[in-house]
């Protein structure tokens, strides 16, 4: 198994599932277009600045550190909508990945070539957990730079001018943090991806229902029988646990009522809590990776011996 061969397998995924490439790109383009359009209403934003916000930007212009933190926070937030769209696409991608090839019988073509079942299944997991996240990261990087240029032009000569300063160090740290977060997220969500791949290789029909219903019914059964919600909590934990680790929310909407010091504090908290590295200290992360390995091994075995084409 050479690197060249593995890259061919990843390319193959992008040929079949073009939406993995296009929908995140489209989302990124929408962000830039939105920023562009809002440039035209810059005048109205200036007018709407009330006393509190004026004070805020005045303080900000004297505090380069706070500026850099705010810069990092809003630029980092741009990855969220792109990743959200990619996540939805990836969910359906993983359910299709080993199901459609059996449905259209193309599995007989793929299996006529010297590509092992392990390489095939792993290439699909790597597409979902590494290749697409890196694509999202690249898109967010470019989107961030384009949006920054637009915002910088928009705010120049206004009291919001501090938003137009580029903080190269904060930018570099941000990009590394985002990349690191994406890789930690890959580890955290590996069991989920492996579960979807397993359903995809196993289900005779309706993989979506097979992926969603059994855990949902199990949670419901527990609720009715024992009146507890351990299964539900566990599923919720595996779904949003990563975001709990990313610290206080990146988006704070209540700037009107808070005082200046607490706004600056919340920006600092958001900036400093942006890294998901604390998750690396959670045993649950590694247990999840072990579970993922077991589920993937099962998926590989099923694809190897499944005989229903």
């Amino acid at each position: 198994m050479s690197l060249h061969m593995f890259l061919t397998l990843l390319k193959r995924e992008s040929w079949e599932h073009r939406s993995l490439v296009w929908l995140p790109l489209l989302t990124a383009a929408l962000i830039v277009v939105t920023a562009l359009i809002s440039t035209h209403v810059a005048g109205s934003i200036r007018i709407s600045l009330d006393g509190g916000e004026r004070d805020f930007f005045a303080t900000l212009s004297l505090d380069p550190q706070a500026q850099a933190q705010l810069f990092g926070v809003w630029m980092g937030a741009l990855v969220a909508p792109i990743m959200l769209v990619a996540t939805v696409v990836l969910f359906f991608y993983l359910l299709d990945a080993l199901y459609v090839e059996r449905k259209d019988r193309s599995i007989l073509f793929w299996k006529s070539l010297p590509v092992s079942d392990a390489a095939t299944v792993i290439s699909k997991a790597v597409t979902a957990l590494i290749a697409v996240p890196i694509w999202v990261w690249l898109l967010s990087l470019v989107t961030g730079l384009l949006t920054f240029v637009i915002v910088a032009i928009k705010v120049s000569g206004t009291p919001m001018a501090p938003l137009g300063n580029f903080h190269i160090a904060a930018w570099g740290v941000l990009q590394l943090t985002l990349l690191q977060n994406l890789l930690i997220a890959a580890l955290w969500y590996a069991p989920l991806a492996a579960w979807l791949l397993l359903v995809s290789v196993w289900a005779r029909r309706a993989p979506f229902l097979w992926a969603v219903l059994p855990p949902a019914l199990l949670a419901l059964f527990e609720e009715i029988t024992f009146g507890s919600a351990q299964v539900f909590k566990f599923i919720g934990y595996r779904l949003v646990g990563f975001f709990d680790a990313v610290g206080p929310g990146l988006v704070r909407g209540d700037t009107d009522e808070a005082d200046l010091a607490s706004i600056l504090q919340s920006i600092r908290d958001a900036y400093e809590g942006m890294s998901a590295i604390s998750l690396l200290g959670t045993p649950d992360l590694y247990l999840g990776v072990l579970a993922a390995a077991a589920l993937l091994a099962l998926a590989i075995r099923l694809r190897r011996w499944r005989d229903d084409a």
Binding site: H4, T8, W15, D104, L113, P114, R304, D307
Partner: protein
């Protein structure tokens, strides 16, 4: 004899309790042979091919190019190619992508050769497979396979659903541009007439059992077709024919292992065609 390309001993496979797909079959396929594996629907042909390709579990001993397809499938597929039937190339794949993909994953693929074969067709490299006709998809698949330096080519109903022109062209290309007397081809098809002139060996299978395993050269020695009239019918029947039918008042018998001298007095003698033998063996073993 050189090492067999395929050496199968007592292969067994059943689906559930009822359906026995392979009932302990044994056979050998030597290098440089073109073997027709034939039988009616449900006879076990596809199951046998799947066993050879390591696609299904089974009982018994099986060596393909010296490897067990159950344990060494990944290594085996470097040297084995197969075309399942025309419908298995995915519709979303572009012709150029198909070439890129095989070039990327197969160490024995010669891209220039595939492109040269494709250049002789009307297939455009930007086309998606879903846009091609069945005949063109087969041409594409064959172009890919022919560019792979493999030792064994397995074809499972490769021309199913194609018109006569494409079927002819398929086998002619295979024979003229691919087969080189070192490679081995194993083919299953219902269209017996179309392959009978290119086969070197015949394997007939029915109800999961081999009913005939012979080289084509050995057939005339073993089988005799007698064309006779009603006058000699009873005499012919006493010699235990394998099969009997009547066409336009002529009685046609097929004998196995019968001395031609004993038959010559009864009428005209011929060597039965593969299609005739197929019918004789299948109806014989069914009763």
């Amino acid at each position: 004899m050189t090492a067999a390309v395929i050496d199968a001993q007592n292969l067994r496979k059943s689906y559930g309790r009822e359906h026995v797909a392979l009932d302990g079959i044994s056979f050998r396929v030597g290098a440089g042979r073109i073997v027709g594996l034939m039988g009616p629907n449900g006879a076990g042909k596809t199951t046998a091919l799947k066993a050879i390709l390591g696609l299904t579990p089974f009982e018994g001993t099986l060596q393909v190019l010296g490897r067990d397809p159950r344990r060494e499938r990944d290594a085996l597929m470097q040297e084995v190619c197969f075309i399942a039937d025309v419908a298995v190339l995915p519709k979303w794949l572009r012709v150029s992508q198909a070439v890129d993909y095989v070039a990327g994953v197969h160490p024995r693929f010669d891209r220039a050769r595939a492109l040269a074969v494709l250049a002789k067709t009307e297939i455009r490299s930007r086309s998606k497979i879903g846009e091609l006709s069945k005949g063109m998809i087969t041409q594409l698949h064959l172009a890919l396979i022919m560019a792979i330096d493999a030792r064994l080519l397995v074809l499972d109903e490769p021309t199913l659903g194609l018109d006569l022109l494409y079927r002819r062209a398929f086998y002619e290309t295979l024979l003229n541009d691919y087969f080189d007397h070192e490679r081995t081809i194993l083919v299953t098809t219902h269209q017996v007439e179309e392959v009978e002139n290119l086969l070197t060996d015949l394997l007939l299978i029915n109800h999961g059992k081999i009913v005939l395993d012979s080289s084509i050269e050995a057939l005339p020695e073993r089988f005799t077709q007698l064309l006779t009239t009603a006058t000699h019918r009873e005499a012919a029947r006493r010699l235990q024919p394998l099969h009997e039918r009547e066409v336009f008042g002529r009685h046609i018998f097929i004998f196995e292992g019968q001395d031609p001298a004993a038959l010559a007095a009864l009428g005209e003698l011929r060597t039965p065609s593969v299609a005739d033998l197929f019918v004789a063996k299948m109806t014989g073993s069914a009763s």
